[in-house]
Amino acid sequence: MLHSSTQDTLVGLFVAAGIAGLFFLALQVCNLNYFTEQKGYTVTARFENSGGLKVKSPVSAAGVKIGQISDISFDPKTFESVVKMRIYSQYNSIPDDATASVFTAGLLGEQYVSLEPGGSSDYLKEGSNIEITQSAIILEKAIGQFLFKSAEEKK
């Protein structure tokens, strides 16, 4: 048996190492931003079809992440997908006639919302609606249309 104070030190080291491991996982691995949540404002866009979009999918403009999806719901009256997104507050000068499109990153990548600024002098703010939207491209539909078209042409 070790001398008890050496033993205490080792137990202390062990506990410290374990907690350090947990902190490492929390901060370095998952970038815990629940406590340091960035300030932002929420805007809404309606899509005919939001495809594989999920909560926390990124919102980007010109390829830069400027926010993330906070909620997706279905509107039973208009049969549209209502997507709420949170834009970080430092990006507060996006024209309110911006176009929101659902794109896919690469062929197999995840889907995201891309904002393309228009020319309006008013900016998006808390509670704004994005009027012009472009739905996700559903691969099966596109292929179906393509085949249908080429079949027509052959006739």
């Binding site: 070790l2 137990v11 062990f14 374990g18 947990l22 996982l25 691995v29 998952c30 970038n31």
Partner: protein, 260 residues
Amino acid sequence: MLELIQTLGKSTRAGFTKLGRGTYFLLQTLTGILEIVPRPRLLLNQMYSVGVLSCLIISISGLFVGMVLGLQGFYILSDFGAEETLGVMVAASLVRELGPVVSALLFAGRAGSALTAEIGLMKATEQLSGMEMMAVDPIKRIISPRFLAGVISMPLLAALFSAIGILGGQIVGCGLLGVDDGSYWSQMQSKIDFFDDIINGVIKSFVFGFVTTWIALFEGYDTIPTSEGVSRATTRTVVNSAFSILGLDFILTALMFGDD
């Protein structure tokens, strides 16, 4: 035929009896934990033999598992041109599955078998009986501190395992295979969720620690007090712990990551 049914019935009944004794034992152990509070020294001694002595095997295994994940992941992902997501793959598999499961299996082999052997030998050499005759409850004095030490140590060991594994993956992926260091971390950070992945991993390892330590201590306490009995109990600890860990892992995974 009749004999077969009889044997089957008998062993089923014996199994249930054992489960019942085990549950009673667990309840006694849990009540005993309250009495450790005024005597932290008992816990500290056990944290040493259960936790500190398992550190080395956990760290080294974590490093190698992470390095292997880095290699394997790189070869698969580079086929799709997605080497940048190596960090995600390494971290997700470690934090969700391999960290809790592999470290619990190692823990059962290292600390669990040692606990069973220790308690079993104490029983075989009449130390537990002797304590009872000295009006000291062996469950409170011997079992409860070991149980608490196991339950506390396991999540810490699993966190250590995952953290070292992720670093190991980084050494291989970024150091040897040329994945970009920045995308290794940033992809990981954007995809790994604190609650869904890390907290769930910690919950898993806590459950595994609870079950493994319980099995180890009960097998030791319930052993037939001969040298053969102790060696059998030690084997049973490792086997039963492994089964329980893997079975529970399936259930927990289905509960935690099922609806995503």
